[in-house]
Amino acid sequence: MQVDPIHQFQINNLIPLATMGGHQFNFTNSALMMFIIVGLISTLLIGATMPRAVVPGRLQAIAEISYEFVANTVKSSAGTEGMKFFPFVFTLFMFVLFANLIGLIPYSFTVTSQLIVTASLALLVFVIVVGYGFWRNGLHFLNLFVPKGVPKAILPAIVIIEVLSFLSRPVSHSVRLFANMLAGHITLQVFAGFIIMLAGAGILGVFGAVLPFIMVVLLTALELLVAFLQAYVFAILTCIYLNDAIHPGH
């Protein structure tokens, strides 16, 4: 029996919405998953904060811990002034975290394993950083590309390199999350496929299948860590980029 490790990333059209200029617009399983994620986060957070208890219950504690966690991240990397971006960073963090975690459930769909989704999120951050940077600092924002104490002779080359380095941010920002999720899920699927193949190969194979099974259990634990870590890295990089918009040439 063959297992196709790529099959889990397939986009299925659920409801056709419109046709525009020869392109079809559909409500896909990916879109459905995103609605589920947003619904789940909203229900959890709104429901958890409803009691407004002084001594938090379990759900309220989860909401408060996640709030404080992200708030500390924002404060430590973008300063107190960065707190005006807290709702944005918190939304990004929760969305990515839930997308990663829900993707680990068998037969579900991992939204963050689609490059277009992570690229959209990273570009959103990039546009906000550039827009806010120019709005707040005017042309001083361009100081970001002119490091101090560089000899005049090599300054043009350095500026071009700095600009390229800045432009490469959304690429690395999005590819990191996407590739981590993609690679992790393919690895899981391949090892799970080994179990089925070995178990189908007779009595000796059944004993052999124990090895990939242990591997899958360990990999699932690792993926759980990666799911959380990548959401955190995505959020902290957002904060660091926002910090550049708030304090350029700093």
Binding site: N72, K148, G149, I161, S165, R176, A179, V226, I236, H250
Partner: protein, 126 residues
């Protein structure tokens, strides 16, 4: 006579012990300083960088690749717009590589700059 020698030995032993305990105390003190210094570091940054070397390695490699890819893409675009085919691609690929290396060194905290890493943040002008 033997008494005197015994007394002398005991004194010597005591001074040795005193010196040893003093040294131990000093060692403890300096260790304590080192420990408090370490624990006062930003725990958030620690978590981000030390929790998994795997994540850090992946981060570094993606930074390098991103720099090269963006440089190549920009060079290709300039070639198409200005019609100076291979030169834009060649020059911007090299510049992109330089940008990628800069990204990696910043992420690793080797070079201070527009820090991608918490620990080097705010050192741009120093």
């Amino acid at each position: 006579m033997s008494d005197a020698r015994e007394n002398g030995d005991r004194d010597k032993q005591q001074t040795n012990e005193a010196a040893l305990s003093a040294r131990l105390q000093r060692l403890n003190e300096s260790l304590g300083h080192a420990r408090t210094g370490r624990s006062s570091d930003d725990p958030g940054a620690d978590r981000a960088t030390n929790a998994a070397g795997y994540a850090k390695g992946f981060r570094l490699s993606s930074e390098l690749v991103a720099g090269v890819v963006v440089g190549a893409g920009l060079g290709w675009l300039i070639d198409r717009l200005l019609g100076i085919s291979p030169w834009g691609l060649i020059i911007f690929l090299l510049l992109g590589f330089a940008a990628g290396v800069l990204n990696v060194m910043r992420t690793a905290g080797v070079v201070a700059g527009t820090a991608l890493d918490d620990s080097t943040r705010g050192n741009r002008n120093q």
